[in-house]
Amino acid sequence: MALDVKLLLVTPLEVVRRLGTLVMEGDFWQTLLFSFSRIVLGFALAFALGCLLGVLSGKWRLLETLLWPYVVTIKTVPVASFIILSLIFFSAKRLSTFISFLMVFPVIYSNVLEGIRSTDAELLEMAQVFRIPWLRRLGYIYLPHLKPFLFSACSVALGMSWKSGVAAEVIGVASGSIGEKLYESKIYFMTEDLLAWTVVIVLVSVLFEKLFLRLMKAAFDRWEAR
């Protein structure tokens, strides 16, 4: 059986060329913005809630115990199961936000909790003797200690948010999303498009990760320079 090789494999040059034409197309930036805004929203919500609940669980062990079954479930259940299940409750357009939230939350939560638990016991004793209020302990003792935990968690979670978010768009065929473009590429055997969009996802994911980590570092530097 004779097959057109281009149908299955394309050269890197052809992918770059397709990328060049893709960015000129009218709906490219709209598609990018559609997926970006939803996935980043999911990440941001997971980051905020993961930090909050991680800190509170570090303070109250009961909360950690209550959250444990949920966190373990999210960590172990395959993302595809969540995506299909969530389609019952969410429209395809909102699915990527929910799924990226779901995948990122346990990573941030677990790292923050681990950071809180491993905070220097000697500094905490100092805080106890000098009666430093909890909020001030959080800002000056816990937060600097959490820094490497947060950077490591975000570095992993940002990539995960894009992978899971786009997977949700593909399975849900969210109209106007990058996932829909990937789905169409698969249906119509447009390997060039598939790889070009994949490159776009990788680039946007890496750039956003760099930007986010830089902003976070600047925020920490500013706080520590007070």
Binding site: E125, V129, E224, R226
Partner: protein, 189 residues
Amino acid sequence: MAIVMEKLTKSYGQKLALPPFSCRVEPGEIVCLLGQSGCGKTTLLRLLLGLEAPTGGTVTGLPDRISTVFQEDRLCPAFSAVTNVSLALGRQVPREDIVALLVELGLGDALQKPVRELSGGMQRRVAIARSLLCPADLFVMDEPFKGLDEDTRRQVMDTVLARTGGKTLLVVTHDPEEAAYLGGRIVRM
């Protein structure tokens, strides 16, 4: 009110960290605790600070507010000397007073540097400043002058004596000369 320790003891399992210790400390008194390493001096201070519960014995007359210099500096390394001191004191002490004491202790050039960039002796002085500014009635200091050169040590000891004047001061030291300079009662453990 005098602080009275009666047969105060602390064990960790089979290990005796503090053999039965009794002592009476009058208000405003300076007491230097001298003893070999491992005799339980630091454990005794931890019991007084409420960081450990005694295995046996009693202690009465402890004031509500106790300030300390730990054996380690226990500073937040990313923050400046001023921030480290004000962190422990909140708004009780004006910033100008914090700066004035740090300058008095020879840290005028290092006020805004992260303490991790300061030398060991400078970090020690930050820890001493934090303790001295705390509005306490009892000051408990565990080898507070270690790591300081001779001149600085005398200067810091003078500051400690001036700032804790009238308050009870309990100092752990290995150095009999240091104890003599502080001029208080020497208790051997």
